[in-house]
């Protein structure tokens, strides 16, 4: 094969009772994402550019839990993670706990290409983002009503159950990334 591409937008318990319109909307956006990759690869673009391009589309799409549409933390914020790796060279870059970077995969690639390190976390990642002049946004950018309601439900379940956040009972149903 000249090229091949696979993508995902998250896994877990996805209800089969989704309204047809919602299901179709997801299918359309997955189709759009794979089409972006197909066209780029057919035109000879590099795997790293294609991975970034496809993930940027998914990060910018509020249906998926990355970039805009990211879930809320316990404190009601958004903390994003991303990583990228080139197999043939074993180069890799990753960021964790970033709060102001519009497209974290772009910053992960910058870690790989513009630093001698593999991962930056939290404040260090934000400093590196400033240094790299990567596109940054306010936390409000990541907000979606659907994720906020899920967050409020999770908080309410905490209160009702009286469980500690570290309880295994609590995590059994909720420990998805």
């Amino acid at each position: 094969k000249d090229w091949a591409i696979v993508l995902h937008g998250g896994a877990g318990t996805i209800s089969k009772d989704l309204p047809d319109s919602v299901k179709q909307a997801y299918m359309n956006d997955l189709d759009e994402a794979i089409s972006i990759g197909e066209e780029a690869l057919a035109n000879g673009e590099s795997a790293i550019d294609v991975v970034q391009k496809v993930i940027n589309y998914l990060e910018d799409n509020p249906k998926f839990n990355a970039g805009k549409g990211a879930v809320f933390t316990h404190e009601g914020k958004h903390e994003l993670d991303a990583a990228i790796m080139v197999g043939n060279t074993r180069n890799a870059g990753a960021v964790t706990g970033v709060t102001s970077v519009k497209n974290p995969i772009n910053l992960a690639r910058m870690v790989m290409e513009n630093s001698k390190h593999v991962m930056f976390a939290g404040e260090g990642a934000e400093e590196f983002a400033i240094e790299m002049d990567v596109k940054r946004v306010n936390q409000d950018y990541f907000y979606t009503q659907r994720r906020y309601e899920a967050y409020k439900r999770a908080i309410a379940e905490d209160s009702e159950s009286g469980l500690l956040d570290s309880s295994e009972d609590y995590w059994e149903d909720d420990k998805y990334g």
């Binding site: 094969k1 318990t13 996805i14 997955l30 795997a47 839990n65 990211a70 990583a83 197999g87 990334g177």
Partner: protein, 132 residues
């Protein structure tokens, strides 16, 4: 979580993953996505991106496990390696996985009820799916 794995015309294998993590996560919690070898990994034989229960994906060193299975088990295919991780190492309900190997073989499977996913190659094989 979103992810993408690619084999390009030059034979380069790349894996990428991006996520907001888990709803209601505690301060400083890091999942599998940024951990090279767990949620994101690429070698000279395969590129892998994971999604699901981050802590379990990390404990299985998932991406590296798939690559090692293919490298060190003689004649192992991508499908065998992926199925080994999802069925023998991880537990039902834990995760989904996408991968592409150096020959352009594609894999997208999960042991959860669903995964938003799509794949395509230069020979016209194409699929977009949510459930099994």
């Amino acid at each position: 979580t979103v992810g993408c794995v690619v084999l390009d015309q030059e034979g380069m294998l790349v894996a990428g993953t991006s996520t907001g993590g888990m709803t209601n996560k505690m301060y400083g919690r890091v999942g599998d996505v940024p951990i090279i070898g767990s949620g994101t990994y690429a070698s000279d034989v395969v590129a892998v991106s994971m999604t699901g229960w981050g802590e379990k994906i990390m404990r299985a060193v998932s991406g590296h496990t798939v690559s090692s299975y293919m490298k060190f088990k003689e004649g192992a295919t991508l499908e065998e390696a992926g199925n080994y991780l999802l069925n023998d190492v991880l537990e039902p309900g834990d995760a989904g996985m996408i991968a592409v190997d150096k020959y352009g073989n594609m894999y997208m499977n999960m042991n959860t009820s669903g995964m938003f996913r799509a794949m395509s190659d230069s020979e016209g094989n194409r699929e977009v799916a949510i459930w099994e």
